[in-house]
């Protein structure tokens, strides 16, 4: 039967022999009499379309489009009326939202007839299409006013995908490069062979870019004596004096107070986020605010009963960790600077770090505890010194088995906090600040003295003490070692800071030297440039800390 119809169906039009269409003329077509020629062919075609639900490619390829559409919609009705293909048709038309009607396998009930139908039409279609020009010509069905049908395509070939095209959109290829190197970095850590490949694409420093002498740099694990500002100045405390090294010009200025004869030993320092003020904590328990441009002390905030080994700024609030285990928030704008006291440690608070957005403060102590505090100061600003609200930490962790000095918030994953323990612990723990859950842990070979997250890559750098005095670059979250420089210093590394461009890390060690390591490359994708601009803009727009004097 199929064969018959095929034979009969020359040029896709003679499908009157199609088994699904019994009496085409009798079916109630609503075709106007204006086009008798096409009405016949149209009907037969629509009949086929009904049977397969799929014939359309075939039947219409050589037909004018408008005609086809009308044909189909009318043809459906016609088929129902004709009754021959009606049942089959109804199944084919019931479209599921996601399961489109597949031509050759819609309905097993259709199978035999439909399949043959389909193939017939396909052949016809194909034939007519092969000789497209002639069909176009004969398309008109003998009608004088038939439309001219043309298939047109845009002359130019579509652009090849940018991965194969060196001239492709630059930021895309750059970002692809970025992800590639990121993946390579991860792979490098995974296997030794991959490590070689990773190293080939990226240079790691074995030697420092620059070494500065730091005579009198205190060999005390609990102190925080290095800070690198966003204005590209490195502050370092040498015994009782703070020195500012301008990384751009190389100039060094000392912050001296001429009024006091015997100066307390500086135990901590931290730059304000806008880089204009430096907070300095000392052995006598006071926190000083210095204007580094004029080298003048602006404020001296006393009150702590013991030395202040850790400081961290958040806007106009500087938080200080004391040897007695207390953490104070000092609002530098008001006379009563102490706006809140946090009690959560019973030993020296040697690590303190505000999250970038000021929502959380993380603290680590000599009691091996990590605390995470809610950054909101609440009513404390309006309450007086006597009636300070006290709060417990948001969460407290006892996993470390030694003092926790190294604390670092991840710049690209807000809720991620890394903490490193001292000599008897040697472990870096990663926490989710929102849940307080330990995300992962990383055992190392030595005490962890500081941690620096890379702003450019998914990596974290840890500095260590005895025996290797090394620093190690880890990839996160795989926690595999990317690079390590053993013997980076002659004695244990005590602290570190990262440059404002996020490329260079400075390490300060007990061998009384500062070493600068160029570890990361800034990825200058447009997006990041924009982000940097935003950051800078934000910094610029941020109202600078106004000081109460």
């Amino acid at each position: 039967m199929a064969l018959d119809s095929n034979l009969g169906g020359g040029g896709g039009k003679g499908d009157l022999t199609n088994p699904f269409i019994t009496k085409p003329q009798a079916s109630p077509m609503k075709r106007p009499p204006s086009r008798p020629g096409s009405a016949m062919s149209g009907h037969s075609r629509s009949g086929m379309g009904i049977g397969g639900g799929s014939m359309d490619i075939v039947g219409d390829r050589d037909e004018g489009m408008m005609e086809r559409g009308r044909d189909r919609s009318e043809g459906e009705k016609g088929a129902f009326g004709g009754g021959a293909g009606g049942m089959k048709f109804s199944t084919g038309r019931n479209l599921d939202r996601f399961i489109p009607s597949r031509s050759s396998s819609v309905d097993p009930a259709l199978a035999a007839g439909d399949m043959s139908n389909y193939s017939i039409s396909n052949d016809d279609d194909y034939m007519t299409n092969v000789s497209l020009a002639s069909t176009n010509a004969s398309d008109s069905n003998g009608q004088p006013g038939a439309p001219h049908t043309r298939i047109l395509s845009f002359a130019a070939a579509p652009p090849s995908s940018s991965s194969h095209n060196p001239h492709a959109t630059s930021h895309l290829s750059l970002s692809r490069q970025y992800t590639k190197t990121g993946a390579a970095g991860k792979g490098a850590a995974a296997g030794s062979s991959a490590a070689a490949a990773g190293k080939s694409s990226r240079k790691f420093p074995q030697t420092p870019d620059r070494v500065l002498d730091a005579p009198g740099f205190m060999d005390d694990y609990y102190l925080n004596l290095i800070s690198w500002s966003c204005t590209n100045k490195v502050a370092i405390a040498l015994v009782d004096t703070v020195y500012i090294w301008n990384a751009e010009t190389g100039d060094v200025t000392g912050l001296h107070t001429s009024t006091e004869t015997e100066l307390p030993v500086v135990t901590s320092l931290n730059w304000a986020s806008d880089g204009s003020y430096l907070a300095v904590g000392n052995e006598s328990g006071s926190v000083e605010i210095w204007d580094t441009d004029t080298a003048k002390r602006i404020r001296n905030m006393t009150g702590h009963l013991a030395r202040v080994p850790s400081l961290s700024w958040n806007g106009s609030v500087v938080s200080s960790g004391c040897r007695d285990g207390s953490i104070w928030h000092h609002d530098v704008r008001v006379q009563n600077h102490k706006v809140q006291e946090l009690r959560g440690h019973n030993a020296e608070v040697c690590g303190l770090a505000w999250r970038g957005d000021g929502q959380f403060l993380a603290s680590g102590g000599n009691d091996n505890i990590v605390n995470c505090w809610d950054g909101r100061i609440g009513q404390s600003i309006i309450s007086n010194d006597v009636n300070l609200p006290s709060q417990g930490p948001k969460w407290q962790k006892h996993n470390h088995t030694a003092a926790v000095k190294a604390l670092a918030w991840c710049p690209w994953q807000n809720s991620l906090l890394a903490t490193g323990g001292g000599t008897s612990d040697q472990t870096i723990h990663f926490w989710s600040s929102t849940t307080g859950a330990r995300v992962s842990s990383l055992p190392t070979s030595s005490q962890v003295t500081s941690l620096v997250w890379s702003p450019h890559t998914k990596e974290i750098l840890s500095t260590h003490g005895y025996p290797d005095n090394h620093w190690t670059l880890w990839s996160y979250p795989s926690l595999s070692k990317v690079h390590e420089v053993t013997g980076a210093h002659d004695k244990r590394i005590l602290g570190s800071g990262v440059s404002p461009d996020g490329c260079t890390v400075v390490t300060g060690a007990a061998d009384e030297s500062l070493k600068f390591w160029k570890i990361w490359e800034a990825k200058a994708t447009p997006k990041q440039k924009m982000m940097e601009r935003d950051e800078n803009g934000a910094v610029r727009n941020k109202p600078s800390v106004s000081m109460w004097r």
Binding site: K30, P32, S34, G53, S54, D56, I57, D60, R61, G64, M65, M66, R68, G69, R70, S73, E74, L95, R97, F98, P100, S101, R102, S103, S104, S119, N122, D123, D125, Y126, N129, L132, G145, P147, H148, T149, R150, I151, L152, S153, F154, A155, A156, A157, P158, P159, S160, S161, S162, S163, N165, A168, T169, L172, S175, R176, T179
Partner: protein, 216 residues
């Protein structure tokens, strides 16, 4: 009278053309993404039709599609385009492996008494709101996305071609850089096709379908 309807429809034709062109833009982008013609990371997500749609960020490809769609837009305004085909061809053999076909049926035109008669007879829902159209388009988009599940995996590297079928009473003046083209049919006997949903504005009716090459 004909003149009158024309002017009446002028606005809706414009609006409909915009909708259809936009549909082409998003569907073509979607297909290029779904079928991995361009690397997935070249696409960025935008919200459209209440769905997350992927649009290429490749400037060159963007410009290329824009040029074509601009012409399609023009043809739609002239009501000369009857079909748009996105043919996916193997780079190596230049064989067509997939063929996405969008039939454009311009309604309510070029009929004298017939169109009005049929419209009245079928009780065609007039004045479809844009929202309803968007819902219909969303369904097609979902189908295009879902079609990945049954389409064969494209193993070879592929490129694409956009074909426009035009139909005019008078020979269409060829726009610059457009040429007559092969219909990019898939070899007979190897083809299977699936009809997708359709949508219609008051002016255009769009019917989508995909044909693909199947293994021997």
């Amino acid at each position: 009278m004909k003149q009158a309807t024309r002017t009446n429809q002028a606005i809706s034709l414009k609006g409909s053309t915009k909708i259809v062109t936009e549909f082409f833009e998003y569907s073509v982008n979607s297909i290029l993404y779904q079928r991995n013609i361009y690397p997935p990371d070249d696409f960025r997500m935008v919200k459209k039709y209440g769905l997350p749609m992927l649009i290429t960020a490749d400037e060159e490809l963007k410009a290329y599609l824009e040029t074509i769609l601009k012409q399609v837009h023009e043809w739609l305004m002239q009501k000369t385009i009857t079909r748009l085909v996105l043919a996916i061809t193997s780079k190596e053999t230049l064989e067509t492996v997939e063929r996405w076909q969008f039939d454009i049926i311009t309604e309510d035109e070029n009929g004298t008494g017939e169109s009005s008669g049929s419209a009245a007879a079928s009780g065609k829902p007039k004045e479809k709101t844009e929202k309803e159209v968007q819902v219909e388009i969303r369904e097609i988009m979902k189908q295009i996305t879902a079609s990945v599940t049954f389409l064969p995996v494209l193993e070879e590297e592929c490129s694409f071609t956009l074909l426009a079928y035009t139909s005019t009473q008078d020979p269409l003046p060829l726009p610059e850089k457009w040429n007559d083209a092969d219909p990019h049919l898939i070899d007979k006997g190897k083809v299977e096709q699936v009809r997708l949903r359709s949508f219609s504005t008051n002016v255009h009716k769009m019917e989508a379908m995909v044909a693909y090459r199947v293994g021997e």
